[in-house]
Symmetry: D4
Subunit: 256 residues, 8 copies
């Protein structure tokens, strides 16, 4: 129940249309949730957090995802489904023509009709290796669906620093940078050491042996000697793109 709903209820109490005890029972329920049986959609989230609930794909059937997409779309909300294959896109796009599939990012998006706002500039997504691209794309597509223009710089790891430095101009112009790296994960440290804007490190599970699965990269970023680097979980491109978008809108809920 949002602020307006609560206001209405309180007016009903004042007017006597609603008993105190009945109001008492209803009040704690502070939001709007749609119960689909297997899922309780948080339709209030766009209002509260500036972007609707995002659908995490793994462990859900195409059919369940379709039902969730239907419900979110009907509520006029932008839809973002993460970590799904082409098959999910086919199921969704059969009913919703506008649904797009992002091959590298493994995401389905479905925009609302009335998006007139211009995309915001300022986000750069940079990755250390070719194998890190899917996670970098997850970050980039997330930021894009949230209303941003994203610049991409890929495969510029620290084993050849000149490749990174060649892009210094873009980096210095950024308002927030998402730096994606597997193996030893040193790229975000080096990027943060060169720039003044917020840098979000994304460790990826690229690599093998001790520290593989992203452990070395994650620990490296957490221990970065470059002040002010913040980090998301291994392979969490979505989270980094989301945080970048939130930072880039300057703390305001709506991006316009």
């Amino acid at each position: 129940m949002d602020r307006e709903g609560t206001r209405r209820l309180l007016r009903q109490v004042r007017s006597g249309k609603l008993s105190v005890d009945d109001a008492l029972d209803r009040l704690p329920r502070g939001g709007v949730a749609a119960d689909l049986g297997f899922a309780t959609l948080d339709l209030h989230r766009a209002e509260r957090r500036g972007f609707p609930e995002v659908v995490y794909g793994p462990g859900k059937t195409s059919d369940q995802i379709l039902k969730i997409v239907d419900r979110l779309h009907r509520a006029g909300q932008t839809v973002l489904v993460t970590r799904v294959g082409r098959d999910v896109h086919e199921t969704v796009s059969a009913r919703h023509r506008g649904a797009e599939y992002h091959e590298l990012a493994h995401m389905v998006t479905l925009r609302t009709r009335s998006r007139g706002a211009r995309a915001r500039r300022g986000i750069v997504v940079i990755s250390a290796g070719t194998s890190d691209i899917p996670i970098a794309e997850e970050a980039a597509v997330t930021a894009e669906i949230m209303g941003n223009l994203v610049e991409r710089i890929y495969d510029v790891g620290v084993a050849g620093l000149h490749r990174l430095i060649a892009h210094r101009k873009i980096l210095l112009g950024a308002r927030v940078i998402v730096a994606v790296a597997g193996m030893e994960g040193a790229l975000p440290s080096v990027v943060a050491g060169l720039t003044a804007c917020p840098v979000i490190g994304v460790p990826t599970s690229v690599g093998y042996g001790a520290g593989s699965g992203g452990q070395a990269a994650l620990l490296g970023m957490l221990n970065s000697c470059a002040s002010g680097l913040t980090v998301v979980n291994i392979d969490n491109g979505f989270g980094a793109g989301y945080a970048a978008a939130v930072i880039n809108r300057g703390g305001r809920k709506k991006g316009n």
Copy 2:
């Protein structure tokens, strides 16, 4: 060597005042560094990153710290020394009257004279328990020395959610929130679920048994179901405060 210095050097090359080979030798050195023997100060950092090099206290003697402070101060830079005791403050303030000691945060600060700029609003530091306060203070003092006004909300962990919700208004007004928590580290998730601005989670080493030393809190924050939460290392209040200040200045190097 910064852009201006390079421009000067290139002009000298053009004018013939500097030979090509001499320029060749000097060019790769891209900055300004002060060599103290035991430390190589990065005096260029304020220019590059928007804030000077910060002095990490552990493993340095009072005397070494004093020498570093002297050199930074002489260069007209704001000084921040982290994780030091009263003794270090005594050594430093004997020479620099303006040096302040922050008891809870274990920090020494020494501001430059000419700070006319008004402090920026928008940062909230919130902590879960009484034992998390020193780390929360480390974040708050860092953000303050970087030119921010900081609001503090302490001891409002999730075992009594009403204490948190009582402060909802402050949280909704924030432009960036630093959420500090030990034990299961659930506070940042809950805060991020309620607000639209960037939230930085700081796990603390408060707790005992399995997952102690901050492991449970760190892993909890990395696995948060609240989108867009970013994280710093365990007990790294400084890093969180730094990142918050960088986010709060909106990507610009200078805070005006």
Copy 3:
């Protein structure tokens, strides 16, 4: 050998029907066990613990499971087989018409005929996400076969607290709550902070990256700032449901 058997034996000793040495050899074997070659069934367990031995499915063939079910059923005991697929149910139900399959929980149950007792109220199973439902169902079905009515509340994680609070009435009415959550596992802490009854946390292996496989959720629950939360192993819905049933019968072996 149970208490009655021992009494009989001792009477035989007193009457001289059994020599002291023969009794000596028999006495230490304190129970009733059925040896199937590949398994030694603890038929005494229902007597001793209030519920028969449960069949853990993984690593056993359909044929082995059928033989165990036969033997338990012949002994008049309720049968519960965990973590099995439809194929096991088909094998079992071909001989035992009453065998039920619980799709989501991956369990087969076979009740005894003479169950006149009314199901006990008081157990609530609550889960954080859609992906946690199979483990939640494992807990719920276990509690049901042990004679309880179970209320289910699914997909009400802490990223949208209002969804949880909407169900506060049910939670306050519970005598024992099983709270199931993956990722950061904060749900049981929040639930325990709101209620006065025993809460059992079940971490699930939902999630990815550092702390995945349920580690973050488990450590979070073990470090909960909500007093009195107890925990079972990752994905152990069965154990939580069993413990809830034992707590709900108030310490008495039989549920009447």
Copy 4:
């Protein structure tokens, strides 16, 4: 703000004494919290959870603890301070004559005057070794201050099973058992295998080498082959005693 407070507020709204907007601002604050600066006491907890907020000692000064005790005692609440030394007791008892120190459990307790209720029977605390006694006592004292009579059985580990079996009668009569063990932590499994009531395992940090610090004991209990065992964190005797007390009152908030 508790239910009564909310009722009053709603009545004021109905009567027009309070405007809708003013009520709107106040409503979300759902409890009663006392702000001491360094701590925000959850005075509502006894109402909500059946027992007041407990004071976790480590990281707090004697003076801070005294202030918290004062405030809780003034609110008519039973006081329990965990993990403190004799010095804290001396500070507290100087002002509160009734404060008791529990040497082995490292706890300070201060009861309210009007406790007429009879202590409840049914809780047994059992420990594997002599070194586990402090943690066992922490559990026992916690359960006692919460209104229970506790039976203790100490140093009966599985290396000599007959010592355990000698106490079978007491175990079979229990309504809930707290089983405390370090090293391999097998005691709770064996106890749960012999009895029908709820068993809470408490791993302790007794031992050395691989798995020391309680890891082996914790993992052993989480992997117990005895169904229905639940576990608390390493050395968390307090949590186990609290859970046992909650289970023993049968889900009711007040134990009478």
Copy 5:
């Protein structure tokens, strides 16, 4: 080069048939090794350790294994191949009629013709659960091929102690016991607490969640409160059977 070879060489030196320098070059090579290109067989091992080199199957092709078996058999040595499927047995038995396959243990054995010695009594292999049987069989078959009669007691875990105690007579008669257990791995502790002979614990990878893959069982056995328990690696039934056979022959190289 074995002792006899060295003796011959030294005699050649004394008789002048071999120069000192030539002897010098040959002497350090202290054994007999057969180089197959992909493997260097230690044919001297039977002489040195009392049993020939054992063939670890994983990572070797059927063809490679056949070549090794050929070479060992030609050298008159007993052959034991571990962790292989039926296909390897088919390849081997096509050439060596006497090769046997041990289904549960996943082993191929090929005995030498002239085995007149009587099998030694004294080894008991005991396992906690049905799922532990393959590892228990690996231990049993290993001990058997090394010349022992093995008694097996399966599925007698600590959740029903009476099942174990029913076999006390056999346990008390053993000269060495191999105790196999997954999950919490408490069986070896309990067995060692009841008997006076050497007990070798074998943790198995049976179980799930925290401590799975045998970690909980291994740590439990390493931390056993029963003195004198020794342990092998997780699922290493072969190593335990080998050690039991070595212990049972009383330190002598040949068991007669």
Copy 6:
């Protein structure tokens, strides 16, 4: 209650001196235990396991240890106290003149008077480095108090194999070898590769960096390519010495 006690009880039942119900109550208590309040001594252990209960020193006061020693000595049992300092020896020897202190092993021993039996030969304790000597001595003293003559070979690690090989004769003559090593823990593998008798590896906590605290040594020994090596926990010299003594007596309870 041992076999004789049970026999007497059963005779009393037959003769009618004891009622069936009274016997019923007493029977399950299968041993002899001395309750000291803080400890329940297992006086039956010498009978059952071939050596009395050993006193683990850490976490016990000198006074508690003295009481335990008194009780064991009074029962005519050999006393072994592990991991204690000189102060404990002083307390004990003040009452028991015969108590010895073993400086390097940090052990107190007190023998029974009537030990006529000759010490058994056959145990060798070998250590890799000088820093491993305390743990090696713990093993050696344990084996000695259990009736063995022990040969010691110290500081012969694998970085200089010739030092080890120089002692080959002693190793080949052993009936059981305890091999103690920190750092990479390769010594037991090499020793086991050279000999035919049982080898027990003891990892020590000597070393630093990754794998320190004995982890590298323990994992190395568990993964040994030398068949039949068994292992005890890190720094558990006592356990290795105990196991060696049990193996050396050839499975018989008494060493004569």
Copy 7:
């Protein structure tokens, strides 16, 4: 941009052909990089490091690898592709006849035409077991493509030291040794203890149970008691072969 390119650019600045500002923009980009969209090739690496960029196969399609090979080959660089199957070789060799496939090492190589230099002697690759051969071959093939003759000694683990010692002459003649071992990883320690040249340890993921996946071998090598052993990551034969080649050329960039 290499030193020569920079010299040219500076000359253009001096001569006035290039403006200062244009030079300014170009200068920071210190190398030569080829952007393929999905990859940014570091064509300057051969100049800088003495060997071209190596193509890590996993996560790249055959088509992507072909494009990279094309580009490197066109630039006149030796091509090394690691961790790929026969299918990649087929794709590459369809266009580049000279491409070779190294079956055991899973590598594709493509040499430049004009390689007249003689291969350098001095590198020995030694492995402990048959299962370690693929990683050993990865090291050997890497060193060969970098211009070395490599001697191989396989399957000579420490369980039979005489096999190793038989090859002492080759080891003593080496200038650098790569020692490959799984399980407890003791081979490099023993080899380093016998020789005076640099030894590089390569732990492999051969083994099972605790410490499997190469952890035990890695930790063992890191804790080696043999001074001067250096280590690469688990299964990183490529890295060890590369380091060996770099060491064997004596610090000079070109091996002639």
Copy 8:
């Protein structure tokens, strides 16, 4: 026993002065070892490995160290004692005037008199931070005592790359580089990416939180994207200095 000793022995056999059997017993002892009771010195090591046995200080008394130094010095060997305080130096220098103490490196050295050889150039030791200096000094002093001139570059971590690049000339002139870094340990990767000579990474235990104690730095270096980096254990400056010296002498045992 070294080659000469063996030659003598074999000559005695040929001449008949020694019986074959006596020679047989002596031969396997392949070296020269001095038994001090608590230590078995490997006096043959200088001959075999090119540098004498080094004394690891921790866990040895000043008196034990003095005895070892005496014995090594008497044998004409260079002495290096690691990880000791000033007190050890005082004890040693009281007898050996030439003993030096290296304050930062915590080492004592004692050179032999006749050192005429000129120190070799080519080793550079570089460290990331001021706190890494003690470990860097351990490496440098080790390389110096082994006959090298060492260039030191300290406090040039990757947060300010220009500091590192300013020293590029020295790095490019090195024959082997030891790169020391704590925290995220990225320095060795960046250094290896810039140079062609062998680079040895030394992770240090500098840092805090997750990955502290050197874990993050170690894993980062093991996962370096810069080919050919090799690594030693955390804080093992000695091992890195030793390996650098061995590499710098080009594989020859003696450095001339």
